[in-house]
């Protein structure tokens, strides 16, 4: 994990020993902050995992009851799954194209911004696909409260989509930082967004399998 320089170190301040110490301290603080945001992402993902574990266990309990039936999942979900997995790959390409020393405006950053934008579009396509799946079910007369299977389907997919939206917001921000002139850009933010986004793909893969097998 490393980062690009965002603000040039004030050369005048460096001449003074005390200011130098302070600047060394502020570098140490920045490094701490980066480590903390990395921990924060993992801790947050842990909490999200726990929430979906709770939903899953609710599903396992509920499937033992009398009115548990079966719904046919809309086929667009297969396509959605591919789209989200692909978006994970495109973001990974973007992440790898940036090196520790890449700066805003460099070729690497331009390349990365293209791949991030592509990821963003795929993310939006996934959400549109999920929406299409809901519409498909509604057209068949299957609503949230129709049966327990459909209840779980709508709840799981909707809450996952909410989390994907948070990822999309982060991607929009990233794309903005990568392309805007005179902007600073932290690689750690990129790394953390990537971790979150990959996790969303993995989570969806799990949820999709769960829905396929149980609903």
């Amino acid at each position: 994990m490393s980062s690009t320089i965002a603000t040039p170190v004030n050369s005048q301040a460096q001449a003074l020993p005390q200011a130098k110490r302070r600047s060394a301290h502020s570098v140490a603080l920045a490094r701490q902050a980066e480590r903390a945001s990395r921990s924060g992402i993992w801790v947050g993902l842990f909490a999200i995992t726990m929430s979906f574990a709770a939903f899953s266990s609710a599903l396992f309990v509920r499937q033992g009851t009398m009115d548990w039936t079966h719904i046919v999942l809309p086929s667009v979900l297969y396509l959605n799954t591919l789209i989200l997995l692909a978006s994970s790959a495109t973001l990974e390409v973007a992440r790898r194209s940036l090196t520790a020393t890449s700066r805003v405006g460099s070729n690497a950053a331009r390349k990365a911004s293209v791949w991030v934008t592509l990821t963003l579009l795929l993310g939006l396509a996934f959400c549109a696909g999920q929406f299409a799946a809901w519409r498909d079910l509604r057209a068949q007369g299957i609503y949230l409260a129709t049966n327990p299977n459909s209840s779980f389907f709508y709840v799981l997919t909707f809450i996952h989509a909410l989390h994907v939206f948070a990822g999309i917001a982060a991607l929009v921000y990233l794309a903005g930082r990568l392309t805007a002139s005179r902007s600073t850009f932290r690689r750690s933010l990129f790394e953390n967004t990537a971790i979150y986004w990959h996790f969303m793909a993995v989570l969806w893969a799990y949820l999709f399998l769960l829905c396929l097998m149980k609903l």
């Binding site: 320089i5 570098v27 920045a30 409260a145 327990p148």
Partner: protein
């Protein structure tokens, strides 16, 4: 990772303007105080509610002046109806468990002192921190709103068992809109707590000062850290439960409502849900919540006791590992709340075993405190009195847990006053004693002024004797067979014991009034107390190396470096019998 490639942290300026400084503050100290204020408001509301319940129970026809202004239907002419009694009980439990026992020892003091004790400038994510307080505040406001709607607060109890909590107005007054407000409030509370827990964990892991290894963290910080790990998992499960409950109530789903359910002569239009599912999800949160309430107090009390004894506990590590085991085991025991729920009897046995296992680390902790106290020349002041009171309450309340943990005994004791006495002492009062100890101990640091010791000791003795008088008889009433949550005594066999209840009510009124001494002391000392020095208790941890009250960035231009374990007492230091954590001097153990 090259040195040059790291971005510099922007040095932020002190906040200016009323809104940035006092309302939407990013400063962990202000946020800690905000949590403390919210908990204070909630605890006095909750206390008044318990007064009303106690008065109604023994004088059912007593007119409470002004109560009919709050609820015409619930208290016509100021006389509390049986349903309104249940509303008061629900709100008492919800306010106390969520907004007092979670907020005060964990969120309030943790926010204020965790960053300082590890030598950090602030929390890892100050904006999340602000959001977590304001989400919690909105959760509180939404809950309180239930008092002022025509429907009134819900009558479901703080556990809100399905299916009655899920079916809406057929379940009784308050169950239509009041219950919805409860669900929304608790869901919001979960979000606020999750953000807070995330912040605490990242801060503890990554923002420690140079030399502050994990094992050098004070026990209070350890307790807040472990608590935040528990809270992260617990609230992450309660949030989905609340979402499913709200969907059952408003979207027609049937997660918790079984088929063919008739309530108030009306067939409920739901199918096949599982009421037990709610209990599983709720108690998977609910039992760890008990430890969210008590663990911070354990850490705070250890921290304060060591300071008053002027010597470390028998083993720093054993205390930390015991708290960790309690945290871990708290996830394996939720079923002991459900022995009588119709759950498979074999699983009752499976839940009983870890429940009894939890008593091992709890006992180890108690022995650590008592063993260290043996032969110690303890300095008696308000803080150490409350710390000792905590141990007393924890033991007295904990012992009844041995009985309740066994399914065969619990069949008799379940849902009696025995349980009420048990959890009020071990979770409620013990945890609050930790909060009182923390307040007397850290008030000088937070406000720059000392609290009045005479008033503090008076407050302690009234509270200590008072709470024993209230909650000890609960155990005996429970053994007799007094069922909890009844608003009056319909059983003939209870008639001879009404005198006991009257005694409890009078004790509750006196003890509650005694809390006004605390409130007065708090406000009076804030403005008129003696100015506090930087380190009034000759303590060793980092919060005492900075001025009282601390500047906005805690350590100013100093960057603390830690050289010692947190509790170098009973040693020969340049300042006395202690060596501060950031003092580079060598520790010389002084022989007696």
């Amino acid at each position: 990772m090259e040195e040059s490639s790291v971005q510099q942290a922007h040095v932020h300026a002190p906040p200016e303007g009323f809104l940035r400084k006092y309302v939407f503050s990013l400063d962990h100290k202000m946020i800690g105080k905000q949590y403390f204020g919210l908990a204070l408001a909630a605890v006095f509301t909750g206390m008044v509610l318990s007064w009303l319940m106690r008065i109604h129970m023994v004088w059912p026809l007593a007119k409470i002046p002004g109560l009919d202004l709050i609820s015409k239907a619930g208290a016509p002419g100021g006389i509390i109806t049986p349903e309104y009694y249940l509303s008061l009980m629900t709100m008492h439990g919800t306010l106390m468990v969520f907004f007092v026992l979670t907020n005060a020892p964990f969120a309030a003091f943790g926010n204020y002192f965790l960053p300082i004790q590890i030598g950090a400038e602030d929390m890892a994510f100050p904006r999340f921190n602000m959001m977590s307080f304001w989400t919690t505040f909105v959760a509180w406001a939404v809950l309180m709103l239930a008092f002022f709607i025509p429907d009134g607060p819900p009558i479901s109890g703080w556990t809100s068992y399905a299916p009655l909590s899920a079916v809406g107005k057929d379940a009784g007054p308050g169950m239509e809109y009041g219950m919805s407000l409860w669900g929304i409030s608790i869901a919001l509370f979960c979000i606020g707590s999750l953000l807070g827990a995330l912040n605490f964990i990242a801060t503890t892991l990554d923002l420690r000062a140079k030399g502050m290894t994990l094992m050098r963290m004070p026990l209070s910080t350890w307790a807040w850290f472990i608590t935040s790990c528990i809270a992260l998992l617990a609230f992450a499960v309660l949030l989905p439960a609340c979402i499913l409950l709200i969907l059952d109530r408003h979207a027609g789903t049937s997660f918790f409502i079984p088929a063919g359910l008739v309530i108030s002569d009306r067939m409920q239009p739901h199918s096949g849900g599982s009421p037990l599912l709610w209990q599983h999800l709720f108690w998977f949160f609910g039992h760890p919540e008990v430890y969210i309430a008590i663990l911070p107090s354990m850490g705070i009390v250890s921290h304060i006791l060591i300071n008053s004894m002027r010597k470390p506990l028998l083993s720093h590590k054993v205390v930390i590992y015991s708290m960790m085991s309690i945290g871990f085991l708290s996830y394996t025991v939720w079923g002991h709340h459900m022995f009588l729920s119709g759950m498979n009897p074999t699983s009752a046995l499976a839940f009983s075993f870890p429940t009894l296992t939890i008593t091992i680390p709890a006992t180890v902790l108690t022995l650590m405190w008592l063993g260290s106290l043996y032969g110690a020349r303890i300095q008696i002041n308000s803080a150490s009195l409350f710390a000792l009171g905590f141990i007393s309450m924890f033991v007295s309340g904990g012992v009844s847990g041995f009985f309740l943990a066994q399914p065969s005994i619990d069949i008799y004791l379940h849902a009696t006053y025995f349980v009420v006495g048990h959890f009020h002492m071990v979770m409620g009062v013990a945890s609050l004693f930790g909060v009182f100890a923390a307040t007397y101990f850290w008030f000088p640091k937070m406000s720059g002024r000392m609290m009045n010791e005479t008033l503090g000791k008076l407050h302690f003795w009234i509270t200590f004797i008072g709470t024993y008088c209230i909650f000890m008889p609960f155990h005996y009433l429970g053994l007799i067979g007094n069922v909890r949550r009844y608003q009056s005594f319909v059983d003939d066999f209870m008639q001879p014991y009404i005198g006991w209840h009257k005694f409890i009510t009078i004790c509750a009124l006196i003890t509650g009034a005694g809390q006004l001494i605390f409130l007065f002391n708090l406000i009076y000392s804030r403005f008129k107390g003696e100015p506090a020095p930087q380190n009034p208790w000759n303590a060793t941890s980092l919060e005492w190396t900075i001025p009282s009250p601390p500047p906005w960035n805690n350590f100013g231009d100093k960057h603390p470096v830690v050289y010692h374990d947190p509790y170098q007492y009973g040693v020969k230091g340049s300042k006395g019998d202690f060596v501060m954590q950031d003092s580079p001097e060598q520790v010389i153990v002084s022989g007696d």
